[in-house]
């Protein structure tokens, strides 16, 4: 019984350290966000000397998925966890609701408007969400294109300060 408790305390310490390491692993496409900010780290398990990290992809075709797995393994190896494996889990699917509030602030500071509101609306037609300009806060903005430079972004323009900007679209 005592031994079991010891192991779980030790594991809890490892899990916390691993979490810290993962908080420093940037998303390759939006490096201002870590994989933890993005909300794609599902679970961290430590068994024996082995570390398992469950990661969920943002989009089915996200080309960064393999790179992210590699970056996580590399960071963990550097942090002293050389026996790490990254599993891909699909369910439940990732949505933009999983981006942390810290992550949202970082996006905005980086010039990308964070996702507005909850999950994507199911209605085919309807008003687009009001997306405030990440530079001047003006709500007088317009959608230029629902698809942007990466699968997760849409392209907007601010009518007040005339700057174009990326919007992290709701999914």
């Amino acid at each position: 019984m005592d031994t079991a408790t010891d192991i779980s305390i030790e594991n809890a310490h490892d899990v916390e350290r691993i979490h810290d390491i993962l908080s420093q692993v940037p998303d390759p496409e939006i490096p201002v966000l870590s994989v933890v900010d993005l909300g794609i780290v599902r679970d961290v398990r430590v068994k024996g000397g082995c570390v398992e990290v469950d990661v969920t992809p943002t989009y089915s075709g996200c080309p960064a998925t393999d790179v992210i797995a590699h970056d996580i393994e590399t960071a963990l190896t550097k942090g002293g966890y050389s026996n790490a494996t990254v599993n891909r889990v699909l369910s439940p699917p990732w949505t933009t609701d999983l981006i942390s509030s810290g992550g949202r602030d970082k996006l905005k500071a980086y010039g990308i408007a964070p996702p507005v509101g909850g999950r994507s609306v199911t209605a085919l037609f309807g008003d687009d969400p009001e997306v405030p300009c990440p530079r001047c806060e003006s709500k007088d903005t317009e959608l230029v294109s629902p698809f942007g430079s990466t699968p997760c972004k849409a392209h907007y323009k601010c009518r007040s300060c005339a700057e174009p900007f990326d919007y992290f679209k709701c999914l």
């Binding site: 992809p57 989009y59 089915s60 075709g61 996200c62 080309p63 699909l90 369910s91 439940p92 699917p93 990732w94 949505t95 999950r119 994507s120 199911t122 085919l124 037609f125 230029v144 294109s145 629902p146 698809f147 942007g148 430079s149 699968p151 392209h155 679209k169 999914l171």
Partner: protein, 262 residues
């Protein structure tokens, strides 16, 4: 039930799920291939990027479905073998997916028809008894919903646009309509899987599809042609004359340099 019967029953289900996964994967893969032909050819850079992004979603869905198919088959074939080393008669995609792009109006209308069909399909599949299929579909639903919105907006913009844009999308409608009936056909495989709570009965998708089409057509000033006849054959590998050319281009690299990676 005797043990041997049970075993046989299980392997029929396994074969059916394999066939089904390949069909779903082929639909996604072929759709992706056609969309990616628009890259650097679209009317504007925004539309170029849109088609490229949508193509990427479909290729991601195809990869997951092909990988699962490879595991079910258990003969060591991976996602690349499924996409690049099978022959035309082994592809089970619907004919609509393989048709040449034509002009922008035709491609947008095809994407709209396809998204309006595959969205309720994936929504249904998200409830599948097969956990893996349910997970793949659950992911795809969110992506396809966004694509449906994009293509529906363009159908309205073109249909309710200039004389020229209305003519183009009306011509595309006449050309494509003969291929939509196939979407709602079911064969034995799909009937068995629907009964087992694994697959979705294609005939059950017609109501949702009709509602979407009618709503958008009303806004786009487009009139639905009659549902009097349609072409079919994709599920059983009998494709249009366009499929061979599509595969030749899609598969040339792996056929020429088998196993090549970069």
């Amino acid at each position: 039930m005797k043990d041997s019967d049970k075993k046989q029953g299980k392997s029929v289900v396994n074969d059916d799920v394999l066939t089904y996964c390949l069909r779903l994967g082929d639909n996604a893969m072929v759709t992706s291939q056609r969309l990616s032909e628009w890259v650097r050819n679209s009317p504007t850079i925004e539309l170029d990027i849109a088609f490229a992004n949508i193509a990427l979603d479909h290729v991601g869905q195809a990869r997951m479905l092909y990988s699962y198919a490879g595991e079910l088959e258990g003969k060591g074939r991976d996602e690349d073998s499924m996409a690049f080393l099978r022959d035309e008669r082994e592809f089970g995609n619907v004919l609509l997916a393989e048709l040449p792009n034509g002009d922008f109006a035709k491609s947008v209308l095809r994407l709209f028809f396809y998204s309006a069909w595959v969205l309720p399909l994936y929504e249904g599949l998200n409830q599948s008894n097969d956990e893996r299929l349910a997970a793949i579909a659950g992911k795809a639903v969110l992506e396809v919903r966004y694509q449906l919105k994009h293509s529906a907006e363009w159908v309205v913009r073109l249909g309710d646009g200039t004389e020229e844009s209305h003519k183009r999308i009306s011509d595309a409608l006449i050309e494509l309509w003969q291929f939509v009936g196939e979407l709602f056909e079911a064969d034995e495989v799909e009937n068995r899987l629907a009964d087992a709570g694994i697959g979705v009965d294609p005939t059950s998708l017609k109501g949702a599809w009709d509602n979407t089409i009618n709503d958008v057509f009303a806004r786009a000033n487009l009139t639905r042609p009659d549902d009097d006849w349609h072409l079919t054959g994709g599920r059983s590998g009998q494709h249009t004359e366009h499929m061979g050319y599509l595969l030749a281009e899609m598969q040339v690299l792996q056929r020429t340099y088998p196993g090549c990676e970069w």
